[in-house]
């Protein structure tokens, strides 16, 4: 059992970081090992230092706190700290340890710390925060997807996505900029992408409607879709029905 929780603060405002540090300075359960000013930095530092606990702001430059969670290889305990109360439910769906609303008191912050400390003693360090991101919350459709390959983080606007292909536990996202792998299910993307723009044409493919150039019959009851760049994708029976519905033919 660790004596102290190795902690990283991910928060873009200096004053908010200072406040948190000073509230935590006397606490013997917390050891602050790093501070990050934005989400990019946060992903890199968390994957590198593998902390026990992360204090996470939600609205930050470049990528949001939730997007950051999707990119973590190491899964620490998470306490959100934000001025927005509308994300509380989503945060707990992600199995966050606690959700602090700014401005918060010192007592409230220390209460959250105690809670995490207890939880870690019961369950061990790793929380399953990032795994919970599987089911897309049905508030609004995605407008961008954040992916990470090796050391770089890419933000892909949904408008740039051409199609999505399933690959075992991953999906491959084909965009106008290239292709990127992401650890998500097809089911997630089927929910997260606007069904007026994207159609599931096959167990393995979700295609942007605007990319389709032609639908061709190649056997008695099977079809293929040909995209503007000549890419050919298989269409299943259900997929053909979906296409019919969206394109209205």
């Amino acid at each position: 059992m660790p004596e102290k929780l190795r902690t990283i603060i991910v928060e873009d405002e200096e004053l908010a970081r200072n406040l948190m540090k000073s509230f935590l300075s006397q606490n013997d359960k917390i050891e602050i090992i790093a501070e990050c000013e934005n989400g990019f930095e946060g992903v890199k530092t968390i994957n590198e230092l593998k902390p026990d606990l992360v204090f996470l702001d939600i609205q930050m430059p470049k990528i949001t706190g939730f997007e950051l969670l999707e990119l973590l290889e190491h899964k620490p305990q998470i306490i959100f700290a934000t001025a927005y109360d509308q994300f509380a439910i989503k945060a707990f769906e992600f199995n966050a340890a606690d959700y602090l609303l700014k401005p918060y008191s010192k007592d409230r912050l220390l209460e959250a710390v105690d809670k995490v400390f207890e939880r870690v003693q019961k369950e061990g360090i790793s929380s399953d925060v990032a795994e919970r991101v599987e089911n897309y919350p049905k508030e609004d459709f995605l407008d961008r997807v954040v992916v990470k390959d090796r050391h770089k983080i890419h933000i892909i606007p949904v408008d740039h996505i051409r199609y999505v292909e399933s690959m075992d536990d991953y999906v491959m996202i084909y965009s106008t900029e290239g292709r990127h792998m992401k650890q998500k299910t097809m089911h997630y993307f089927e929910d997260a992408l606007n069904p007026k723009q994207f159609v599931r044409i096959h167990r393995s493919y979700i295609v942007k409607v605007g990319e389709i150039n032609e639908i061709q019959q190649y056997e008695k009851e099977s079809y293929i879709v040909i995209l503007h760049d000549k890419t050919k994708l298989k269409v299943s029976k259900t997929g053909y029905k979906n296409l019919k519905e969206v394109l209205n033919f």
Partner: protein, 353 residues
């Protein structure tokens, strides 16, 4: 809807009606005396039985008109009810006339019998004239009521819309600012105090909107400066406001709190997503008729999620529509590097002052 008789509602109309028939009766009496050679008594009784009686009985036609309005009833029903009503009125008119003559001037009864058909026909004709007259009165009344209601409704809707569109200060701005203050109380109490005062002034300004729709440009500018100063405490050197204001414009009139959503937007998309200092530039020019304000900020097109015109800017457009009747006074330009908002505020000229 009004069911009372217009003569009861409007004594002037009743007086005019009475006077009209009195004069008509007088003229007819004179004609009867001098042209037809009737005696004075005979003429008075004749005029009474033919004109005054109808003038009195006829007032009740209003109720027939009122209960068979043209809008809600079929033509057959209206025609039928008028035919029945007319027959009753004419019968009443004839009966009273005969009774009057028999009582007061039995000698004229034979003369009356000869003109019987003419008189019945005249009664029906009078009925038609009355109906037209009362329909006109009715139409005039409901028209006036409609105009009055519409005016009330428009005023109400406008008030409600303005209230809703009033750029309300974003609560997250407030909470984040309070968090900054919370932090400053430990490290820099003097700045914390300054921020509390700035925040209070801004809140007071945004809350007192009911008193006057418009304020001087100087006042609006000072309050937006407060807003920017508060945000500068949060964002530090990342936020760099720059002002190029023509001094002559400061007296111009402007709807209050109309600029704040523009700055809020500039901070949200320009400053918030940036890691480098961002200049938010305000340029103001004016002539006698127009105050032109241009607010621009650079932004990173790769980061900004494309969600179209935000609620803040749409609210400004709607407010401009309500206040000036022109939504095009707000212009947005986006060249994927810089976002530019141009606002043209019409100034009162002598013609429409």
């Amino acid at each position: 809807m009004e069911f009372r008789h217009p003569f009861l509602n409007n004594p002037k109309l009743a007086l005019f009606y009475g006077l009209f028939w009195l004069v008509s009766a007088l003229i007819m009496m004179l004609i009867l005396v001098f042209a037809n050679g009737l005696g004075y008594w005979g003429a008075i009784v004749e005029v009474f039985s033919s004109i005054i009686v109808f003038a009195i009985v006829g007032t009740s036609i209003w109720y027939v008109v009122r209960f068979s309005t043209l809008e809600n009833n079929s033509a057959v029903r209206i025609l039928l009810s008028h035919l029945i009503a007319a027959s009753i009125i004419v019968f009443l008119y004839m009966y009273l006339g005969v009774v009057l003559i028999k009582l007061l001037n039995p000698a004229a009864i034979e003369w009356m019998n000869r003109g019987f058909v003419n008189r019945v026909f005249g009664g029906y004709m009078m009925y038609v004239i009355y109906v037209v007259f009362f329909y006109a009165v009715n139409y005039y009344y409901s028209f006036k009521e409609k105009v009055r209601n519409e005016g009330k409704l428009i005023a109400l809707v406008k008030e409600a819309e303005l209230h809703a569109l009033k750029s309300q200060i974003n609560p997250h701005f407030l909470f984040n600012s309070l968090n900054s203050i919370s932090s400053l109380t430990m490290t820099n109490p003097a700045r914390a105090q300054e921020m509390v005062i700035n925040l209070s002034q801004l809140m007071r300004y945004s809350l007192k909107h009911d008193q006057s729709e418009k304020v001087s440009f100087k006042q609006e500018l000072e309050n937006n400066n407060l807003y920017l100063q508060i945000e500068k405490v949060r964002f530090g050197s990342k936020l760099e406001p720059v002002f190029e204001i023509d001094e002559n414009c400061l007296k111009a009139e402007i709807p209050n709190m109309i600029l704040q959503p523009i700055y809020e937007n500039a901070i949200k998309y320009g400053v918030y997503e940036a890691t480098e200092p961002v200049e938010i530039k305000t340029v103001a020019r004016c002539n006698g008729e127009l105050l032109q304000i241009i607010i621009s900020n650079p932004y990173d097109a790769n980061v900004k999620s494309k969600k179209g015109e935000g609620i803040g800017l749409r609210n400004i457009r709607d407010r401009m529509q309500i206040i000036y009747g022109n939504p095009y006074l707000l212009k947005l330009e986006d060249n994927k590097k810089e976002f530019k908002v141009t606002l043209a505020i019409p100034q009162k000229t002598k013609q429409n002052a």
